[in-house]
Amino acid sequence: MTHSKYRIELHVPSVLGFEKVAMDAASAVARQMGFEPTRVDDLRTAVAEACLNAMEHGNQFAQDSEVNVLMICEDDRLDVNVLDEGRGGTAPRITEPLTVDNPPLGTHGNMGMFLITQLMDEVEVTRLPEGSLVRMTIYLKHALASLAKIGLQ
């Protein structure tokens, strides 16, 4: 299968639980492209976390707001773009996760963005006029991914 430039677009409401729709859609796309199960699992977690952030921080769980997930299949990689409506005052930022020594008070442990960057081959955060865009890329060949990570590709 040549994947070049297949485009899958998904919109989900900003309601906890609907990130699973994005997870399952993204993993179906990745399996279709031939990604291995462990990479599909990595993608599932990254997509879930990006969608949860978009729902909460980006859309403030506003009732009429949506999270837009745009997936592009290329020959060598899958790009997943998660776009929110930028309703909060913050932008996605990558910080060190909290630990047992310094535990989170509620359910925020700074782990979402951290995990995304750990699990994906490339992550790009852009602040667009309409909202925040988190672009996550995984490569079909790990070798290419490593080159990309150190900037040689």
């Binding site: 462990t38 977690t45 949860l52 996760p97 047992v100 442990g109 782990m111």
Partner: protein, 114 residues
């Protein structure tokens, strides 16, 4: 929500096992705290069994971190078992395995930890 967490508490001779059934997410806080409190009554080792927890997100991990912190304060020992290899990797990435040993299976946890 469809797969809201449920817990099941089993008191064994040397350990109290908390089975986590369903998703471990932002909405799991109250039920996890209740289960932990009930388990801690026995004074034994507490085993959190993730065998039937197929979706754990960052909010769920944050709740587990807080729970481990509380256990440490109370002098209670907590270990984790039966995480999929994916979530073992995730728990390692966020450093959670530095504070609670992760065993492959309940059996392994019981023989090694008791």
């Amino acid at each position: 929500m469809s797969n809201e967490l449920q817990t099941n508490l089993r008191h064994l001779e040397n350990a109290s096992i908390v089975d986590l059934l369903g998703d471990v997410t932002a909405t799991s806080d109250a039920i996890l705290t209740t289960a932990y409190t009930a388990a801690t009554d026995s004074g034994k080792l507490i085993v959190l069994n993730f065998k039937e927890a197929s979706y754990i997100n960052s909010a769920g991990i944050a709740i587990i971190l807080s729970l481990l912190n509380r256990a440490r304060t109370n002098g209670r020992r907590v270990v984790l078992t039966s995480l999929s290899s994916h979530y073992q990797k995730i728990f390692h990435m966020v450093g959670l395995d530095q504070f609670a040993t992760i065993y492959e299976s309940e059996q392994a946890a019981l023989s090694a930890a008791v």
